[in-house]
Every structure is written in structure tokens, then in C-alpha cells.
């Protein structure tokens, strides 16, 4: 039992301190990296596993980032593309905290409205705000519905 678990874990190296994002739908790890702002210029140690067989999900992705804790805005964005993701905070090689992401009812200041004529895309004091509705997002101001690839708006 224990041996099998270890073998699975070894697909991605364990980290000493940082964050592990697990149960990302297969293939979406790269979008999670984009949300976290990880690019070719980033310095942190990042491991990515994609399309790992998973009993629950069929296949899943895992992202591990060393020396990094997520801010609430990042967690909200991840919830949008990976609603079943779990986030593990690792310290000294151990899981200190484990949490599930949850889709908030409202998202503020995280995404921009993709309607260029929306008042939230002007110098007015209107901060982009969305309501989560039927699996999509509705802009609080222009009321347009954005569904499908939400990462396009991130």
C-alpha cells in the first residue's frame, strides 16, 4: 500500500516548502501556471505533472511551486478553471494545511471584463466584478455572460 503511494508521488519530486495544487483537470496545468504568473523568466522551482492517471478524475494535473504561498485572488482564479482542485501548503516536507478551492459567488478585481465597451474598462471608479452563474460569469456592470474558456479573461 505505502509502496504504491510512494511510487505515484515520485512522478513529481516532493518539495520542502511551498504549495502543491492537486486535482487539476487533466491538461489544465499550463493554465494554472499562467494564473500564477509563472513564465520562462520565473526563478522558482516548479514541477508540473500532466495527465496523471487518477481514480477520481480519470486523469489529472499537479503543480508544485517551491517557496510560494497563494494569495486569495489566485485561489479564486484557480477555482474557476479547476473547481475540484486541492491546495496543500507544504512546510519542512510536510503538509501543513490542505484546502479545497471553492467557487465564490462573486469575484471582484481579479478578472477584467472582456467587453471593451463595459464601464469597468474605463478610468471610472468601477472595479470589474462578476457573479458566478450557471457555470459562467456575468459582469456586474455590463451584464454580459462569459462562459467557456474563462482563462481567456484572466
Amino acid at each position: 500500500m505505502k509502496g504504491a503511494g510512494n511510487k505515484k508521488e515520485l512522478r513529481v519530486l516532493p518539495i520542502r516548502k511551498g504549495t502543491v495544487i492537486d486535482h487539476i483537470p487533466g491538461g489544465r496545468a499550463l493554465r494554472v501556471l499562467r494564473i500564477l504568473g509563472i513564465t520562462d523568466a520565473s526563478r522558482e522551482t516548479v514541477s508540473v505533472a500532466m495527465n496523471v492517471p487518477s481514480r477520481q478524475m480519470g486523469r489529472k494535473d499537479i503543480v508544485k511551486v517551491e517557496n510560494r504561498e497563494l494569495v486569495p485572488g489566485e485561489v479564486q482564479k484557480i477555482a474557476l478553471i479547476a473547481p475540484r482542485a486541492t491546495i496543500n501548503i507544504i512546510d519542512d516536507m510536510e503538509v501543513r494545511r490542505k484546502m479545497k478551492v471553492s467557487l465564490p459567488r462573486e469575484i471582484e478585481g481579479v478578472l477584467r471584463c472582456s467587453n471593451p465597451n463595459c464601464i469597468s474598462n474605463t478610468p471610472e471608479p468601477a472595479v470589474a466584478r462578476f457573479r458566478v452563474e450557471n457555470g459562467g460569469l456575468r459582469c456586474f456592470y455590463c451584464e454580459r455572460m462569459f462562459s467557456g474558456e474563462l482563462t481567456d479573461h484572466i
Binding site: 467587453n115 465597451n117 463595459c118 464601464i119 469597468s120 474605463t122 478610468p123 471610472e124 471608479p125 468601477a126 450557471n134 459562467g136 459582469c139 456586474f140 456592470y141 455590463c142 451584464e143 454580459r144 455572460m145 462562459s147
Partner: protein, 307 residues
């Protein structure tokens, strides 16, 4: 019950709140109340010209005994010179008891309501909402036909037409049966159809305008804009085939009611105007009692029990 402070979008309404507006409109249409807005000032803040809507609000306020400040598009923009809309709204809110706002940006009225000290009425925000138009459409249907168990054909540009989108949404709350009739490329967007079904509408495809006409109680006609067609000949062909003519109406059911938000170009033959089907000028007239109702609900009389 009506507890709103602002009138921004028809999506904010429950069916009961719509009913409250329609009932009040009916009262005010029957019995004039030139005392209701006495001593009150309404500011018409129009960043885009819309003479019809502006005059309709002005008439409504004056019939209730109130006064109107008009800022046309030139004045509004010159006042706003370099200033944000939110600042302008705060300033005008200091002069007037309520603001009617027309602006080119979607969401402008929602934002104005957040910063305004007085009620804001959305009179059109870009391609967004124009809730008093929807309320007057509902009122017209109620007065000239019936809202319960309604069967309505929506004809024309169903892709970009915000009027039909809002009306369809409102009618969904009444469980209306909707027959969309649109040329190729101007059909009701799929996400909106989904949204409407969620809200209770019964969208039913029809093969032709003739079929819709036979089934419907109300024919709601909107304009097909030339700009939507790259080829002017194609536009003439399409627009022509959706034109409402006497010939088309020969087999129309007796109680059929034809509505149009106006202005029309040539989607309804002027010879139809003389038939009992034509109710679009009544519809325009109903804008006044409906806007009177909105004003009286948003600006209740000060007095007993109120600060």
C-alpha cells in the same frame, strides 16, 4: 411590492415588481395625478441623443407636476469635459431629485447608481439595458393583448436587438411561448436562448414568418439594420422578406396585435397602420404612463413615516 431605489436593468426585477409598475401605470393612466411630483426636479442626463425617450420622461414628469432639467448630449459632454461620469452624476444628484441617464457605455447606469445620492433611471447604456422600454412593452401587451399564456413572435434582428433580449427575458418570467423569426446570421444567440430557458421561457422554432403569424397573439417587429449586411442587395432581399404587409396579414388571426419599438424604417408597410392589428403608436403613447409609474415608485411622496 416595489422596493427599488434605482431602475437599472430588467434583470433586477421579480415578476411582482414588474406587476407593481404595471398596476401603478394603469392607475396613473386612468386618473391623472398632477400633484405627485410637485416640487420635485428630474434631471435628464443624455450623453447620447435620444429625443423620443427624453421627451417621454419629460412629459411623464410634467404630467405629475414636476420640473425637468435637460442636459442634451452636447451640454452633458461639455459639463463632463475631462470629468468622470461618476463625478458628473454626483454633481447633478446635488441639483435634482432623480437622474435619467443615457450613456454609450454598458454598465454606466449601474455605476452611476453606486455613486449617486438620488435615484438613477437607466434610459439606455450602450448595447446594454433600457428597462423602461421593456416595461412599456409589457404594459402594452397587457393592455392590448394579455400577458398570461402569451404567444409572441419576435421578428427581425434578434442577435443585436437589445429590446427583444430584455423583453424576452421579462416575458420568460411569465412563461411566455416565444417564436423567434430572424434572418440567417441574426438569430437569437445560443447563450441567450439558454439563459431564457433557465428563466422559464418556452422558445419554439418556427419555419416561417407566416407560421409564426398564425400561432401568435402578438407580433413584435424590430428593425434589421443595413450595417449588418456587407452587401446592400443582400440587405434589401432579406429586409424585404421580413416586411409586414397587408398581403401577409390576409391570413392573420383576428385578435393579432402588432408592436414595434419605433422608429420604423420600412419593416412595416404604412398601409398596415390603418388596420386593427397596428398598435405601435399606442405602444409609444404608453411610454408616458409607464414612466410616470416608475417616477412615482422611485420618488415616493415625502410625508408621514418618511424622513
Amino acid at each position: 411590492m416595489f422596493r427599488k431605489r434605482h431602475l437599472i436593468s430588467i434583470r433586477d426585477f421579480t415578476r411582482e415588481e414588474m406587476e407593481a409598475v404595471l398596476r401603478r401605470a394603469e392607475e396613473l393612466e386612468r386618473h391623472a395625478r398632477p400633484d405627485l411630483m410637485r416640487g420635485r426636479i428630474l434631471a435628464n442626463l443624455f450623453f447620447e441623443p435620444s429625443t423620443r425617450t427624453r421627451l417621454s420622461f419629460e412629459t411623464a414628469m410634467k404630467r405629475l407636476g414636476g420640473e425637468v432639467l435637460n442636459l442634451d448630449s452636447e451640454e452633458a459632454s461639455s459639463m463632463a469635459k475631462g470629468e468622470t461620469l461618476s463625478d458628473t452624476v454626483r454633481v447633478i444628484g446635488g441639483y435634482a431629485d432623480a437622474i435619467v441617464l443615457r450613456h454609450s457605455r454598458e454598465g454606466a447606469a449601474r455605476m452611476a447608481a453606486e455613486v449617486s445620492g438620488v435615484p438613477v433611471i437607466n434610459a439606455g447604456d450602450g448595447a446594454g439595458q433600457h428597462p423602461t422600454q421593456t416595461l412599456l412593452d409589457l404594459y402594452t401587451i397587457r393592455r392590448e393583448s394579455h400577458l398570461e399564456g402569451l404567444r409572441i413572435a419576435m421578428v427581425g434582428d434578434l442577435k443585436y436587438g437589445r429590446t427583444v433580449h430584455s423583453l424576452a427575458y421579462a416575458l420568460a418570467l411569465y412563461g411566455a411561448r416565444i417564436y423567434p423569426v430572424a434572418p440567417e446570421g441574426l438569430a437569437l444567440p445560443a447563450d441567450l436562448q439558454e439563459d431564457l430557458r433557465h428563466s422559464g421561457a418556452r422558445l419554439q422554432p418556427v419555419k416561417s414568418l407566416q407560421e409564426a403569424l398564425r400561432k401568435a397573439d402578438v407580433l413584435y417587429v424590430t428593425r434589421i439594420q443595413k450595417e449588418r449586411f456587407p452587401d446592400p442587395q443582400e440587405y434589401r432581399r432579406v429586409a424585404g422578406s421580413y416586411r409586414i404587409t397587408l398581403d401577409l396579414l390576409r391570413r392573420a388571426p383576428k385578435g393579432l396585435v402588432i408592436l414595434h419599438p419605433l422608429p420604423r424604417v420600412d419593416e412595416i408597410d404604412p398601409r398596415v397602420d390603418g388596420t386593427p392589428y397596428a398598435r405601435y403608436f399606442r405602444q409609444a403613447y404608453y411610454g408616458v404612463p409607464v414612466r410616470m409609474a416608475v417616477l412615482s415608485l422611485l420618488l415616493p411622496r415625502r410625508g408621514k413615516g418618511e424622513a
